[in-house]
């Protein structure tokens, strides 16, 4: 069974994120981590391979440290990796990213696509379902269990007050969420292998895509501006003894803030 995992390197949950002065972008402390939900996807893919044989390929889109997610995948046990790091791919919306990834997936026959239900950086949950749409495949979102038998997949995903059990024919796309599994810690020997691994790359041209169709140019959504959340007003302490302070608090509520 050929399993493809889409994974993304995201800012570390502890990284400091701020808005660039002119509001056109974000300034993110350069600390990175594998998207938590993609780790579940990777783990599930490896477990399926251990059970059914075949191979696991990890694909990511991004520059710089993005490669690290592929190395993490290899360290955990993935057989192959593919990197889309042409700058033309960058700064796209969910659609442009899904388009590029779906073409990359199609380069070889596959039985299953797994990815996280969302990336923990922009939390938009778009790429998985859009990839399914672009590949014209069934999609099951936010799964917590996955079984494969006889060319069919049975997946579970939580719904309000219970869970849905869904059966779909393969190939299909599944997005993983917490509860699906516990991701393994890569072996030291695995990490060493991953550090040495040559990561193959693919260009837009090789995917049959023009630079107009992908990245920022191919996006259907444009971000106008980033705005900071409203600052909470500072806490105002009222000094004095309890009785006087309470009276003052009432005066402020009635006369100044006028909420009473």
């Amino acid at each position: 069974m050929n399993i493809v995992v889409l994974a993304k390197q995201v800012p570390d949950p502890e990284a400091i994120v701020g808005i660039r002065g002119d509001g056109t972008g974000l300034e993110i402390e350069p600390k990175f981590a594998t998207n938590l939900f993609d780790e579940f996807a990777l783990e599930e893919a490896l477990r399926l391979r251990e059970k059914h044989g075949g191979k696991v390929k990890v694909i990511t889109l991004g520059g710089g440290k993005a490669t690290e997610v592929l190395r993490t995948g290899i360290a955990m046990g993935a057989d192959e990796a593919l990197l889309l790091d042409d700058p033309a791919f960058f700064d796209g919306d969910g659609y442009a990213t899904a388009l590029a990834l779906s073409r990359a997936i199609q380069r070889e026959p596959f039985d299953l696509v797994l990815c996280g239900k969302q990336a923990t950086d922009d939390d938009r949950s778009e790429v998985g379902p859009m990839v399914a749409q672009l590949l014209n495949l069934p999609h099951v979102g936010g799964i917590t269990k996955l079984d494969i038998a006889d060319g069919k997949a049975t997946a579970e995903s939580p719904v309000e007050g219970g869970k849905a059990v869904v059966e779909v024919p393969l190939p299909a796309v599944f997005t993983a969420q917490k509860g699906l599994n516990e991701a393994r810690v890569p072996l030291i020997t695995g990490v060493m292998k991953a550090m040495k691994a040559q990561i193959p790359k693919v260009t837009p041209n090789e995917l049959g895509l023009s630079t107009e169709e992908i990245g920022k140019a191919g996006s259907k959504v444009r971000i106008e501006q980033y705005l900071p959340p409203k600052k909470r007003a500072g806490v105002h302490f009222i000094p004095g003894d309890a009785g006087e302070a309470a009276a003052e608090a009432v005066r402020i509520l009635v006369d100044e803030v006028r909420v009473i």
Partner: protein
């Protein structure tokens, strides 16, 4: 037992481990460094200053390119009594010219940079890995166990810090004694670069160091330090663990730090700063009498793990010893690997080379410094003497002033011109 063996596994991504890994990788050996923290540097703490001169011959390229903070051009010593202080300042034009003698340094930045250099040379640095035990084969160390995994290696270099469990597991060191260690607490305060330069009277890129001794440790062995980084100040105290344990009434270490920061002599430097980091660490204070056995078949011990740290009173050193011992360990390891001989007999070469280097030479020279520095009178009587002396000299009151010599002699008589003082003076010859 794993079939394939790496050339070398290094336990611990501090300066000793990184220096050893760098040299081994440079020599074309397959080397793996395992670090417990999120990245090399994340768990490493220094007060803040590295003396680079002794290291130029050991790791010239690293020392020349390293992301240090500021080169130190101004040295200050502040002797604190409970309510007064005497400050001495020494500056030298020569220190303002290259090559600089010492730099302030923040380990999170420096060690991470260093580990990237190791990887550029082809070494493997893997963080988030705790080494649990050593692997043995025919009575010699043959690798490590980490998280259920066995990693075979022809040679293991233990560079796992002041509380080295590897050295203990290999039977190279006695269990730890509190008397051999001090506790260091450090805070990093953020201040604007310009503000630091103005406040300390520095030019761009220049740094200052301030040591504090006296009432801040409340009679216990130890002292305080302050170093200027690019846009932060490193401020902290060091206090003997044994002294802290036996202090009556008991005092929590953080209280010492809070009281220290509240002193005007300290508050003036950090005013307006923002506390960014808080760290604590253990320092070996035992000197040469506290160093472990340095090698056994298949294993070498380097840096703090071996006890290579030296408090010479006015200068406190550890990082140079760590780097130098790491480099020397790597040199011996490379020779041993090339010869295919990692026996205890061959690895004795490590100690021989350390003895020929400044590492064990300096530690030998300062063999007795701990005895001198542990004298509680250094932290009580002498600061009081200095303070009282200057108080007499500087004060003007309503009553007629006595002659300066007479006043000074009276103060000296009260504090130091006695049998104890003579003994202390005599003990200084050991330094």
């Amino acid at each position: 037992m794993p079939e394939e063996k790496l050339d070398a596994v290094i336990v611990g991504g501090g300066l000793a481990g990184l220096a050893a890994a760098y040299r081994l990788a440079e020599a074309g050996k397959q080397v793996l460094l395992l670090e417990r923290g999120d990245a090399p540097g994340s768990k490493n703490v220094t007060g803040g200053r590295i003396y680079v001169e002794p290291l130029r011959t050991f790791l010239p390229s690293i020392i020349d390119e390293a992301p240090f903070e500021r080169h130190v051009v101004r040295e200050m010593i502040t002797v604190l009594d409970e309510e007064s202080s005497v400050q001495l300042e020494y500056a030298q034009d020569g220190w303002r010219k290259q090559p600089y003698m010492s730099y302030t340094v923040l380990r999170a930045r420096f060690d991470q940079w260093f580990s990237e250099k190791v990887m550029e040379k082809g070494g493997f640095v893997i963080p988030n890995r705790k080494v649990d035990d050593l692997l043995w084969e025919d009575g010699r160390v043959a690798g490590v166990k980490a998280g259920g995994e066995q990693i075979g290696a022809h040679i293991v270099i233990a560079a796992d810090g002041a509380l080295s469990f590897m050295a203990e597991k290999a039977g190279l060191r006695e269990p730890l004694k509190p008397a051999n260690y001090a506790l260091a607490i450090k805070e990093v305060h953020k201040l604007d670069e310009k503000c630091i330069e103005e406040r300390f009277g520095l030019d761009v890129g220049e740094g200052a160091a301030n040591l504090f001794v006296g009432a801040l440790t409340k009679g216990m062995f130890g002292g305080g330090f302050l170093y200027t980084n690019q846009d932060t100040l490193s401020l902290g105290i060091v206090v003997g663990i044994d002294a802290l344990m036996h202090k009556q009434p008991q005092i929590e270490a953080y209280r010492l730090m809070d009281d220290f920061k509240a002193r005007p002599e300290v508050a003036r430097w950090i005013r307006g700063g923002e506390l960014k980091e808080y760290a604590a660490h253990v320092i070996s204070e035992a000197g040469i009498s506290g160093i472990s056995k340095l090698y056994t078949a298949g294993m070498l011990v380097a840096g703090d793990a071996a006890g290579f740290a030296l408090n010479m009173g006015i200068t406190v050193r550890g990082m140079e010893f760590a780097i130098a011992s790491g480099v020397i360990a790597a040199g011996v390891a490379v020779d041993a690997l090339n010869k295919g001989d990692v026996s205890k007999e061959y690895l004795a070469e490590y100690e021989k080379r350390l003895r020929a280097s400044f590492v064990l030479r300096d530690m030998e020279t300062f063999r007795h410094s701990k005895e001198v520095l542990e004298n509680p009178r250094l932290f009580t009587v002498y600061p009081k003497f200095l303070s009282s002396l200057f108080n007499v000299l500087f004060s003007v009151s309503g009553t007629p002033k006595k002659g300066l010599y007479k006043s000074a002699r009276a103060v000296a008589k009260e504090y130091i011109l006695n049998w104890e003082g003579m003994k202390d003076f005599w003990s200084l010859r050991k330094l």
